[in-house]
Every structure is written in C-alpha cells, then in structure tokens.
Symmetry: C2
C-alpha cells in the first residue's frame, strides 16, 4: 500500500478504529510541526489537495465548499441581517471566504495555530482566496476559550470551525465553553459548531447536542455528506438564544438568499431546510 494515505485512528473517540479510508497520493507537498500539531499538505488523486492535522483530514480541494458553505450560511441565514461574526478556528480561510459573501460589518477570526494560516495561504490559495487581507477581517492568534471571555452581548453569529475534540480543540467542546459562547452572543445570537460524523462519531454528536441543549433554548442538527470525512453524514449543530429554529419561514430564508445574491455551489434555501430532516433512527437515538 505504498503511496496511499491512511487516516489516523483517534482512539479516544473510537473513530476509524475498524474502518479506514485509504486515499491514493499524487505528491506530498508539505509536512511540518507547529507548537500545537503536525501539519501536512498532500496532493491526492480523488480529493485534490488535502490539509491534514495530526493525521486527520481537515479539508479537501474537491469538497471543502460543502463544509464551508454549510457551517457559514446556515447560521448567517438563520440570523436576520448579521453584522458582527466570530469564527473560532478556521485557519484555512474557507469559512472566512463564505462569511465575506454576506453584507456583514466585521468578522473576527481566532486561530490558535498561526502556522495553519500561513501554510493554508501558501499551499491552499483556492480556499482562502486572499480574504485574510479584506478590510472587514480581524485576525487574532490565540486560544478561543480565553478570547471569547472578553466579549459579552457582542457577536450576532459565532462559528466554531475547529478540529475534532482532541489536542488543541478539546476545550472548544466543553459545556463551559458553550456558556461563554452564549454570553458573547447578543440577545438574538446564533452559534454553530461542526459536530462530527454520524457513523463513526455518534457519541460525540450526541454529547455536543446534549451539552448545547443545557445552554441554548433552541438547538438543531443539520446534516451534509462530505466525502473527505469518510462514510456517512457529517453533522453541524446550531444553537440559538431567541430565534426559534423550528419556526423559520422558508420564504424568509429564500428572500435573504436572493436579496444578498449569495453565490453557492452546495447550499441553497431548499438545502437549508432539507438538511435538518433527520432519519427516523437518528431522532430516536438522540432522545
């Protein structure tokens, strides 16, 4: 199996212990270490370039648009006319790129690992598309949990675009962190977090869902299938302080989408709603 990339097992999450996704490598582009993690850029046949942190695929060239559009446009369209957005993580710049398609006033991005930003700019320019330089963008290098403690009733939308809950991201999945997110949001605030895949990481999906329910009155899971993240659906979990996520009028979302002339490849107002229809067995398992 020379020239094949095998995604690493994550023992404490029981991910990939018994299934492995093997991906044929075209060329290894970069491999190095930051203070926090191992960073690799690999060019592959099926997925184009991939960003790998501590052995886990973070994004692929062919399908990063699915992840970045969903994690951005779901909360930004749930919130009526957002102006101030915070992205925690997201050093590759994809979520920033999608956020800047909205008529927001400013977006803060807090990434713990500066090297992820530098490497992404250099080897994955198609992801960030130079948006780091945009005048509405403020970049902070630091710990998301520490950073967010300085803000109260400040952000309209907070996007948690982190790695899986191991290594530098563990704290970003704690109940304590979600309480800080709640405090940092204004009274109508909306947050979203990536919450892992249903098949390999269900216990994580459920834990995040339940943790968020202890903090936010309205919590909703959306699904999208992203080939680079392996088999099964990938999940995003949305928390809302005041907007009742169950009672959004589809026509409202449709109108905003048209009005701001949002250009997307995966997301649409129809996908906004269909992605929240969960299979019956999943609804049972989440109870």
């Amino acid at each position: 199996m020379k020239n094949w990339f095998f995604e690493k097992a994550i023992p404490n999450l029981r991910i990939e212990e018994t299934t492995k996704l093997a991906i044929k490598i075209k060329k290894k582009i970069f491999s190095g270490r930051s203070k926090y993690q191992k960073i690799e850029i690999i060019d592959t046949y099926p997925l184009g370039r991939i960003l790998v942190l501590d052995g886990i695929i973070q994004l692929s060239q062919v399908d990063e648009f699915i992840y970045h559009e969903m994690i951005t446009h779901l909360p930004l369209l749930y919130y009526p006319n957002p102006k101030k957005v915070l992205i925690i993580g997201g050093g590759d710049g994809g979520t920033l790129r999608e956020t800047l398609k909205h008529p927001i006033k400013e977006v803060y991005l807090v990434e713990i690992d500066k090297k992820v930003i530098d490497i992404s700019k250099k080897y994955l320019p198609f992801v960030s598309k130079n948006v780091f330089r945009e005048r509405r963008v403020k970049i902070f290098i630091g710990d998301g949990l520490k950073f967010i403690k300085n803000y109260k009733n400040f952000f309209d939308v907070i996007i948690i675009d982190s790695t899986d809950p191991i290594g530098p991201s563990v704290s970003l999945f704690s109940k304590k962190f979600y309480q800080e997110v709640y405090r940092a949001l204004n009274k109508n605030g909306i947050m979203i977090t990536q919450s892992g895949t249903l098949f390999a990481q269900f216990s994580q999906v459920k834990k995040i869902f339940n943790n968020l329910k202890t903090v936010f009155p309205f919590v909703k899971i959306h699904l999208a299938t992203i080939p680079a993240y392996g088999e099964g659906e990938f999940s995003f979990t949305v928390g809302s302080k005041k907007v009742n996520l169950e009672r959004i009028n589809p026509a409202v979302i449709k109108n905003i989408y048209k009005k701001i002339n949002l250009k997307t490849k995966y997301y649409s107002p129809e996908i906004h709603f269909s992605s929240a229809i969960l299979p019956k067995y999943l609804e049972e398992k989440l109870k």
Copy 2:
C-alpha cells in the same frame, strides 16, 4: 493490513480506483462461487455481516435498512395503492421484506442467481426474515430482461435492486431494458433503480438519469447516505409514466404512511421529500 477487507476496484466504472474503504474483519463466514459470481459473507467489526459479490459490498447488517427502505417505500408511496410489484434482483430478500409491509396483492421477485438467495437465507436471516415463504411472494430464477418481456401493462411498481452494471447486471442498465420496464408497467406505473454513488460513480448516475429520461416522462433522483457504500451520497432514480413526481402533495404521502401503519427506521414522509432536494452543484452537473 491482515484481517482487513478491501473493496475491489471496478476499472470500467472508475470506482474506488483512488480511494479504498478498508474494513476490519471479525470472521470470514462463507466464500464460494456460483455460475455468475463470487459470493462472500464476512463478519466485520464496523458493519456487522456483509454480503460481497465479485468483491463489491452489496449490503451490511448495520445499514441495509437505509437502502431497502428507500428503494421500496419511495416507489410504493409514489404509487397510489399498489397491488402488483416486481423486484428484479434483490436475492438477499431485504426489498421483499419492505415490500410486504404494504397491503399489496402479490410481489414477483426475479433473481438470476439462486445461490444468492440460498446463501442469504442461511447467513443473513436478519435481512429476509423468512419472507420468501410468504403466500403473496412468487420467486423466479432467471434473467430480468428476458423475464420482463413476457409482461405488458401488468405491474404497478417495478424495483430494480441489482448489483452495479458489471457482470450479470449489465443489461439491467440499458435503454432497451428501461423500455421493457415501461411496457411491463401499467399506465400509472412507477419504477425505481439503484443508481450508484455520487462521488465515485457520478458518470453512472448521470447515464442512468439520462437513459431513463428518454423513456419516462417524469424522472427524479433521491439521495441517501449509506456508510457501507463508501463516501458520499448514494442515489436512487425513479421513473414515472403518468404520476407527476414534482407535484405530489406531501399530505397524501403522510396519510398513506399513517393509514398502512408503515414501520420504518430510516424512511419517513419527510425524508421522502427531503431526499429529493439536490445540492446545487449536482443539479448543474445533471443538466
């Protein structure tokens, strides 16, 4: 990589050439050859027992319900009050099991490979659950294309539950075959076929969609994500002679589902509609 099962490449379909799903084996249960294909039953850690034909996974214990519920209930709920159903393929009995949950009069099953039925009954009893013996069931061993030529305006619903278009199933994806399916259906008839995965087999998805459009006035793709079939969404394509698939009232589907008290784990009337909402890029690529 001892004790790992690697799904075989299918060169003419460009499937899995550059990605491989590796699955950890618990125990090899059965391996043999029929006149048509190699048949294996393997017990695995992540998927439970899997049925493998010519190296390709056909079903897994943990998620076969997703495939079998979707390929059965979509057409049987599109059709108002179906009585006569034909299943082509489906030797494992899963589609038969789901079909018999409906108040149909009779269901014919035509499987080319008797050994698939025998092996499935013996090693995968949780799939067929003894339904082969049900009085409404008629089993035929033979070629689907030859069989269907003997029927005209006869079936309400035809379900093509075949392997991928290699080996014994090639003819079941031809335009000629779809014309025979059209003739064998009554004037309101509905058909469905499995049409492969979006990520690895998109050219096949598109070919089936286009072939069906030359034969049926109404054609619609539905998606479901099935871990055992690898990354990305799996597709089902529905063809209809008269029922306009775009103008079905959700309340009608909901009422039938309740009235016949359908017990499902994946399918629901909500999933019926949400599974037909395609990502924007896919709608473009299908044009």
